[in-house]
């Protein structure tokens, strides 16, 4: 297949060769689930070949991971660990939910970020996980059961029509996207019009998610794709149409590129993580504050 058009498109964002090479050689990560055991106990018990990451104490890189099925280990079966890419782990850290928060995850399934937030909240507070499709809700419950998430309520609503006005102190919208940062098949799947189409849904979801946020609350918008139509443009659309919405610093000390300046200087607060930064998936993150 001729991946020339995709490479040309990707070169508009970052160093295409480095990006694709890093993705091909990406590392495999998991995080320790402190809802089941402490990291000390985990290290004492496990025989997994792993190394703690510099970015987060509870995230580990799996060594000699090629062909290794982490889903068939005791650690996974018992809910002691959860395989998750490092940028995906960082999304929940950017939102930084605490025990006092009421948190909404608009598109929660299959529950990686959701269960991580429960962990950060120490299974206290209230964590609402929403998704639309029953098969995805079922995957979410499998994660909840295995990882012992106890502070959660699961709902099945259309993410564009949530109708929860100012109920939550923190909201995560990890939006459905073209996933060009997280799949081997990105060059084959890439279509110029696909991002444009899905951004209509993303914009509606972001309005709905923002509406659920209490004044003074914070929302993290994330995708695992590079297209500006699905990232900066979606955020810009909200900022332009809602008074009181402003971008905030993500507070993450990680290698990244800032958001695209063509949308305004404040977009430097957004974070574009390409595979070459952490040798993992590509991600986009923005934090939006609702001024009280």
């Amino acid at each position: 297949m001729d991946d020339g058009p995709f490479r040309e498109w990707l070169s508009g964002y970052t160093d295409c060769d480095r990006c694709l090479e890093a993705f091909r050689n990406r590392r495999h990560f998991f995080r320790v689930n402190t809802l089941k055991l402490s990291p000390e106990k985990f290290l004492e018990t496990t025989r997994l070949k792993c190394e703690r990451t510099a970015q987060y104490d509870l995230a580990f890189e799996l060594k000699e991971a090629e062909g290794y099925e982490i889903g068939r280990t005791w650690e996974y079966f018992l809910g002691y660990i959860h395989p998750q890419s490092l940028p995906s782990i960082l999304v929940s850290l950017a939102l930084n939910p605490t025990r006092e928060d009421a948190v909404l995850d608009v598109a929660a399934a299959p529950g990686s970020k959701f269960s991580h937030m429960a962990m950060l909240m120490g299974n206290e507070g209230v964590l609402v996980g929403n998704d639309l499709r029953p098969d995805k809700i079922s995957a979410l419950f499998a994660t909840i059961n295995r990882l012992n998430v106890l502070n959660c309520i699961v709902t099945e609503r259309d993410g564009t029509l949530l109708d929860w006005k100012e109920r939550f102190t923190k909201v995560l919208l990890d939006a459905p996207c073209t996933a060009l940062g997280s799949g081997e098949s990105a060059p084959e799947r890439w279509e110029p019009e696909h991002s444009r189409k899905i951004s209509i849904l993303q914009k509606k979801m972001l309005f709905s998610a923002y509406d659920a946020l209490k004044p003074g609350g914070e929302l993290v918008y994330s995708t695992c794709t590079y297209a500006k139509e699905e990232n900066e443009e979606v955020v810009k659309n909200l900022l332009d149409n809602v008074p009181g919405a402003e971008l905030a610093d993500l507070g993450l000390d990680i290698p990244h590129e800032p958001g695209l300046g063509e949308y305004g200087g404040e977009f430097r607060k957004c974070c574009r993580v390409y595979p070459q930064h952490l040798r993992s998936e590509g991600f986009f993150m923005a934090k939006i504050r609702k001024v009280g």
Partner: protein, 143 residues
């Protein structure tokens, strides 16, 4: 959705009597489309949805999820097994065993880890596997 103290309380008493499990103070059992286990603060949120996860099936039989997450607190009706048996059980196999004359639910434990829920059938002298099919795994490593 509502809090039915009698039914929830009966279940927690059953858990205590059958397995010696006392749930931690911040964990409650609620009636909301069946009994569910979750954080005590959830009821104050007034958000309609499914709270926490299922605590039991019909007849007060604890779910495998509840047992896998709180089985370490059990003091009774626990069967400690060796690695091979634990692996076989995690993969969904039953196993033969003589645990006496009473048919009952038992917790299968390997070292300090709760593998899952079993059902001892005194007539067959077997522990039947109660791990849901989707949760079963062919384990490849040791812990």
């Amino acid at each position: 959705m509502g809090f039915i103290p009698d039914r929830a309380k009966s279940f927690t008493v059953y858990l205590q009597r059958r397995f010696g499990i006392t749930l931690p103070g911040n964990v409650g059992v609620y009636f909301a489309k069946g009994l569910r286990v979750g954080n005590r603060g959830l009821m104050k949120s007034h958000i309609h949805g499914e709270l926490g996860y299922g605590a039991c099936d019909l007849g007060f039989n604890p779910t495998n999820a509840l047992i896998q997450n709180f089985g370490h607190l059990a003091t009774r009706n626990v069967l400690d097994v060796e690695e091979d048996a634990a692996k076989a059980f995690a993969a969904g196999k039953d196993f033969e065993c003589d645990m006496g004359r009473s048919t009952r639910y038992v917790i299968i434990r390997y070292k300090t880890h709760t593998v899952g829920m079993g059902y001892y059938d005194r007539d067959k002298k077997r522990v039947l596997n109660r791990i849901p099919e989707k949760r079963r795994r062919e384990i490849i490593n040791s812990i």
